[in-house]
């Protein structure tokens, strides 16, 4: 089996556009400010951590395919371009790219708007909105933006599905169907999505954005990180509860290396965290919980966990990082990223706080 390297990563999150603001927020370790999300007909608003507007309008939005797109496509495209930046500027030229976009809630903005128009009068519902309601839309637009992407899939599932996407990308590389593969997790927020979460957790803080990893089989394209392992999907079934699935996931990951980082999905929700907390109860190493800082970004948050893990390994803060994804209604998966022997970290030089230990990690 060939090795798979991580050639780059990108993010759009409540911390801002790019990996740098995400890194800074995680290093600082303070939960980001919460904003209110109005819910029609309700006095009490919902809570969210939105993505702040970009400092300058991203150039890619001028692409004809992206003009009328919804935020989820903007996030996915921005994360993809950042993740693939080193690959595309490399001396060997850009390889043929696979693209896998993983979604949990999907295109809720335009779906809600279009359905509202339909209920009002289907004869006047906008034909411009409907195509953007389709789950496949963000992948289609991002593929058109990137070009040279012959193989594209949209995967749906709970947040742990992001690692299924990563495994599929690795399989495409192994089969030599593409020369590199971008895997993106993306979410957008509106009151409908936030309200759905509210039914299960009144204090939830919903978040949106995207995270992306770019996989490559070539050590020379590595950004200093290698994909070491992805567990089997531990599905929730009648015989396997989420807690059992989480334990099975951890058992399959095996022993960790000294000083390894655990990047988990905890967000201080006793019920929602229970399975994952129990699985990692005896973890004594450093630990990072991005959702505590960023909010419940579902599959985007799963991608942020992987981005943070890769970034911190590339920064040489840890020799390896384990990502734990215990999904909300489907499965638990885990992954391990390790420092790659060859290749240079292309991100270290950009880091204003490189070398500092994240504040959240101290004391664990």
């Amino acid at each position: 089996m060939s090795r798979v390297f991580v050639a780059g990563w990108g993010a759009v999150s409540p911390a801002g556009w790019g990996v740098a603001p995400l890194r800074e927020a995680l290093y600082r370790g303070c939960p980001l400010p919460i904003e209110h999300l109005e819910r029609p007909g309700w006095d009490k608003p919902l809570r969210e951590r939105p993505v702040p507007p970009p400092q300058t309008r991203p150039q890619f939005l001028a692409h004809p395919r992206l003009r009328r797109t919804s935020p989820i496509t903007h996030y996915a495209a921005a994360a993809a371009l950042e993740a693939a930046a080193r690959l595309r500027s490399g001396p060997d030229g850009e390889p043929c790219l696979g693209l896998i976009v993983c979604l949990h809630s999907g295109c809720v903005h335009y779906s809600s708007r279009f359905f509202q128009e339909t209920l009002k009068d289907p004869l006047t519902a906008s034909p411009l909105l409907f195509p953007e309601t389709v789950f496949a839309a963000p992948a289609s637009h991002t593929a058109a933006l990137l070009g040279n992407t012959p193989l594209v899939h949209t995967l749906l599932g709970d947040p742990a599905s992001f690692l299924q996407g990563l495994a599929l990308g690795a399989a495409w590389l192994e089969e030599k169907r593409v020369g590199a593969c971008l895997v993106i997790g993306a979410e957008e927020t509106n009151w409908v999505r936030a309200n759905a979460l509210w039914h299960f957790e009144h204090d939830a803080i919903v978040a949106c954005g995207a995270g992306a990893l770019c996989l490559s089989p070539e050590p020379g394209r590595s950004a200093g990180v290698e994909l070491s392992a992805i567990t089997e999907a531990q599905s929730y079934t009648r015989r396997q509860s989420p807690a059992q699935a989480a334990r099975a996931m951890r058992a399959q990951l095996g022993a960790s290396s000294a000083g390894e980082l655990l990047c988990d999905g905890l967000r201080d929700n006793p019920r929602g965290d229970a399975a994952e907390r129990a699985a990692w109860r005896d973890w004594s190493g450093p630990r990072l919980s991005p959702k505590r800082i960023l909010g419940e970004g579902h599959i985007a948050a799963a991608a942020w966990q992987c981005v943070a893990a890769c970034d911190m390994v590339a920064e040489r803060l840890f020799p390896a990082a384990t990502v734990s994804l215990v999904g909300c209604n489907q499965q638990a998966l885990g992954a391990r990223f390790a420092r790659a022997d060859s290749g240079a970290s292309g991100l270290r030089e950009e880091t204003p706080i490189a070398g500092q230990a994240p504040a959240r990690l101290k004391g664990h």
């Binding site: 339909t118 992948a139 593929a143 058109a144 949209t154 690795a170 992805i230």
Partner: protein, 413 residues
């Protein structure tokens, strides 16, 4: 581990089909559908599922659901939560499972394609969430069961089996891509058996969407007809039980057919319109045939995507003409969307089952409506029932967003 994976077997194992389930407007199960497809029956009818009084088009391929589900291991609590899409899926999966005579296993991957998942539940959720006075009843359940992975889990629970659920949503190519991914899992040695297919239920949002795009035929859906004026929507599900030949042989399973090729790629042209020259469609047909090691001369029937829209059919016709070359003049082509409507996420999987029926029963499915040949089509569009020798059949599925996929199946004799 999903990664690093075990070494793939060499040579890659052959992949056979030992079970198939299908639900469309023609009925539930192989027999009802085979009779309907063989006769070229048209099953479109007035929509009863939602209000269409303000819609220009008022018909679709609405399926009749049974009063009771077949016996499964679902609890009454779970059955009560099954929505229309989940029910269609379960019926098809149950038939495939029964036919394959599989036993519950700890590791049976389920790969499904869907375009809209449980959209009708999402619509119900939205309606209630925007109504006053506020009511919470059933909203949490709708928010969960709207999600296709939950519908997939219900299928596994119903069959008493376990395994990873993978959901592909490449619009109308989803079902073909799901079967293609299953094929890949088997050939890479990742599994010995995979249940794969596609499904979608009619929903008001999706119907209104196609209506807003003026893609729906206000008359009769007639793919590849010179006077075609749009598509008809339908609903349904199709599921295949796929396994390696070695596994099927070891248990003396009855083999229905062999999946021998799969191709997929994306057309970057436009979100909703195919590239007029059909270059991606051509590429995936070539890719699938290369995998299958068959030439156009070897293909006895092509189940076209054939939606009935001006743009899809011309693009696909150009691709078929180029791909088939001299064979085009005699290559039998038809689209069953004229009879049952466009099944969206289920379309590619239903196309595969139609091909399997043609291979098993040695007939060609005529198109339910076809009058005036489009001169752009160099191939004959089947419009009369015909018995024929069918050894290799091919099915196209092209999606919104540009993902195209082709499957190639071979008769098992």
């Amino acid at each position: 581990m999903l990664f690093p994976p075990c070494s793939p077997p060499s040579p890659a194992p052959r992949v056979v089909i030992t079970g198939a389930g299908i639900v469309t407007a023609l009925g539930i199960g192989w027999q009802a559908n085979a009779q309907g497809f063989r006769a070229g029956k048209r099953a479109l009818r007035p929509i009863s599922l939602f209000d269409v009084s303000r819609q220009r088009v008022k018909t679709a391929g609405e399926a009749d659901l049974p009063a009771a589900l077949p016996p499964t291991l679902l609890s009454s609590h779970q059955v009560a939560r099954l929505d229309r899409a989940g029910t269609l899926l379960l019926l098809a999966a149950h038939e495939a499972w029964q036919q394959a005579q599989w036993q519950p296993a700890r590791e049976l991957p389920l790969v499904l394609g869907t375009s809209a998942g449980g959209m009708p539940l999402g619509e119900a959720y939205f309606r209630q969430a925007t109504q006053m006075p506020r009511r919470y009843r059933r909203q949490p359940s709708r928010a969960v069961h709207y999600q296709p992975q939950v519908q997939g889990r219900m299928v596994l629970d119903a069959l008493g089996t376990e395994g990873a659920v993978t959901i592909i949503s490449n619009a109308c190519a989803s079902g073909s891509n799901a079967i293609g991914l299953a094929w890949s899992l088997l050939r890479r040695g990742r599994a010995q058996c995979v249940l794969a297919g596609g499904y979608d239920a009619l929903s008001e949002l999706v119907f209104s969407g196609f209506a807003a795009l003026q893609s729906l035929s206000p008359t009769v859906c007639r793919p590849f007809d010179a006077r075609r004026d749009g598509l008809a929507l339908g609903e349904g599900a199709a599921v295949l039980a796929l396994e390696t030949l070695e596994h099927a042989s070891s248990r003396d399973a009855a083999i229905l057919g062999e999946l021998i090729g799969y191709g997929t790629s994306i057309d970057h042209h436009h979100l909703t319109q195919p590239e007029p020259q059909g270059s991606t469609a051509l590429a995936v047909m070539k890719q699938a045939c290369a995998e299958a090691a068959v030439a156009p001369e070897d293909v006895d029937y092509l189940h076209a995507h054939g939606t009935g829209t001006l743009l899809n059919d011309i693009s696909e016709a150009v691709a078929i003409n180029h791909w088939a070359g001299g064979r085009a003049a005699t290559l039998p082509v038809s689209s069953t969307k004229a009879g049952v409507g466009h099944l969206l996420g289920g379309a590619g999987a239903a196309g595969a089952v139609v091909c399997l029926m043609a291979l098993r029963e040695q007939w060609l499915p005529p198109q339910a409506a076809f009058e005036t040949p489009d001169p752009a089509c160099r191939f004959p569009v089947l419009h009369e029932p015909r018995d024929a020798r069918v050894n290799v059949a091919m099915s196209n599925a092209f999606g919104f967003g540009g993902v195209n996929a082709t499957l190639v199946l071979r008769r098992w004799a």
